[in-house]
Amino acid sequence: MDAPSESKSLKEIYQQLREIGCCKLCCLRYLGERSQHAFQNPDAALQMKFLTDGAEIPENPSKLKKSNVCTACMGLLQETVRDTFIEKIVTDVNAADYDCKEFSCALSMPVSFSLRTHSLNLYIDEVFPDDKDEPAELRFMSVKEVWKWIAAPLLAKGICKTFNPKDCDFSITISIGYEEDEKECNCLMDMHKEIYEMRKQQTRKFKDCVLSRKSVESLLISTDPSHFRKFYPTPPNIPNTPFVCSSVIPLHNSLFIAGRYNKYSRKLSQTPWLIDGKRLMETSVQELLCNPIVELAKAEDLRFASSGREDVDVRMLGKGRPFFCELINPHRVHLLPSEFRKIENTILSTTKDIAARHLQIVSKDQVSQIKTGEEEKIKLYCAYCIVSGEKACVDWEKLESLPSKCPIVLQQKTPIRVLHRRSLATRERTIFRLEVCKAETNEPKAFVLKMATQAGTYIKEFVHGDFGRTTPSLRDLLGTDVDILALDVMDIELDWPPEVNYNEETGVKVL
């Protein structure tokens, strides 16, 4: 190994790097090259530095085959490997068929790569030290950076998207595999025996990976170079096989679709109702609403959320309930208002049970608004009640005295019907307004109660009292047994998402 020397010419450095098995691009990196153009035209760049004057550079044929796998980039920057990588990425991404306009990409390297890079950096620092004593890992461009410079324009062309490394919703993660990864890493077990022995015992914490890239990197920084050299050669051995592209995972950030829904059925739950994995109901609001949206956006999965929920036997009328649907990994993100209108109409024509309106794309920030102010928002209800008991009859006079008692503050213990999945507590809830009307049925014992209540009020329990666990209840207020036989949510006073102007949109269509 050469002694450190400050007087080494660029040519000498180049020759030595070639000897240890670096490819041209990696030589350029270690010569301190920092321009994208140079890496895209390595021969010209090297010539500019007067490094490749034809066959003048002596290559040691006994040590190197004509084109060995680069010891630094493991072929990643070498044309043959590079081209197969790019071809695979382009094919895979195109097959996944995303309509977004921009992309970013990330390389996920095998652990042994950290080891190899560390070894090379130690070698460089020793053989070609920096004037300012800056360590090699900071002085030079990394393999990843240079790879992106070269690959990004080619990928952009191949997948017809613009490269945007910052602030892009679509990313392609490329996992790199290396046949001898485990073999090369085994030296770590000896290098840091105590640490790995310990980790092997902490099976829960380090379940299937005793060696994570991050932990290896931090461990290497704190390893004494002379100790390191005992277990791993510097410079590293020239690899027998190059990196392979083991997987290409394209992923688009979630797309949020919001709207309001109505539910007209008393036999439809909001979300799929499963008990022990068995379906209790054929479908649900969530499925009827989201399936066409998921289909349109070609998303992988979805998450449904709404501003509260109604019971299976409760209708959701009026302007409807605000909801959103998070589309996970959508392949279509450029959705048009006309496509949303089409979904709304399809839902109307296929089911009488629900309707969707105001469907639109919303931002992540807008989504968080649905959850804020959840406690304050007012809900309007309409309840069909009867006085029970054989000889009971509606005491209209007493009923009509109720509105003047508002606001009525209730103490509600968690209702028995939800006690199996909610914690027990007594909650204070307010009925802001009450209105009594005649029912449109032929039942003389029935009356209709319209209410404006605080969010979180359990209406059914307010009416029948839940065995005296909600006080005061309508039963307490009237002094007679009452029961609730039907309930509708009339409105949820939350202006979200923004209303769609249907007239304007249809106007545009006509034009």
Binding site: N262, Y264, R266, R315, L317, N345, L348, A355, R357, C382, A383, Y384, I386, S388, E390, K413, I416, R417, V418, L419, H420, R421, R422, S423, L424, A439, E440, T441, N442, E443, K445, A446, V448, H464, G465, D466, F467, G468, D481, D483, L485, A486, L487, D488, Y502
Partner: protein
């Protein structure tokens, strides 16, 4: 935009001579007969469709059938255990007093000096006892299958099936009562 015509509320509710009560609509009554081998001291467990159990006295229980005047419902069941001190936390009802079918929930003390022990009848966690009975013990007689309940219990899942078989269904209970009256007559 199409507008949808919605039926007025209540049109889909069938009109009935007598409507089932709230308890009848949501709970299935189960019975434990001659609790503690004491004749007539039958208990009723109202099982909600979500499996939560509400323990109460059966109409046949002497307190109700003999129209006793209750002086006190005593929840201090042993020197150490007071059912009123039961505190539960979280969805899983952590910290609840655990119950087996023979656990005493309370002792009903009547003005005539008679005392009746009320037992859990099920395995599970005590969610709450009926605090209203402290102020108004007469609720036990007046509304045994609603406001006069004694306790709410979250049954253990594993023993859930077992207890269901130990308790009698309404039909079985009625049959048992008939048998007993025949024996008495003889």
């Amino acid at each position: 935009m199409q507008s949808i015509v919605v039926d007025p509320i209540g049109l889909d509710v069938p009109i009935q001579e007598v409507y089932p009560s709230f308890s009848e609509r949501y709970f299935q009554p189960k019975y434990s007969i001659n609790v503690d081998s004491k004749a007539g001291e039958d208990h009723c467990v109202l099982v909600h469709s979500n499996r939560i159990c509400v323990v109460t006295l059966a109409r046949n229980h002497p307190v109700i059938s003999l129209c006793k005047t209750i002086s006190k419902v005593n929840f201090q069941v042993t020197d150490k255990t007071n059912r009123r001190e039961n505190v539960v936390q979280g969805k899983r009802k952590h910290g609840a007093q655990t119950l087996n079918p023979m656990s005493v929930l309370c002792v009903v003390e009547c003005e005539d000096g008679s005392k009746y022990t009320v037992r859990s009848c099920v395995y599970g966690k005590l969610i709450e006892i009926n605090e209203n009975l402290v102020e108004n013990p007469q609720l036990l007689l007046e509304k045994p299958d609603s406001d006069g309940y004694i306790a709410i219990v979250l049954p253990n899942l594993s023993t859930n099936e077992k207890f269901k078989t130990n308790l009698l269904s309404k039909e079985e209970y009625v049959k048992e009562l008939e048998k007993l009256t025949i024996i008495e007559k003889n």
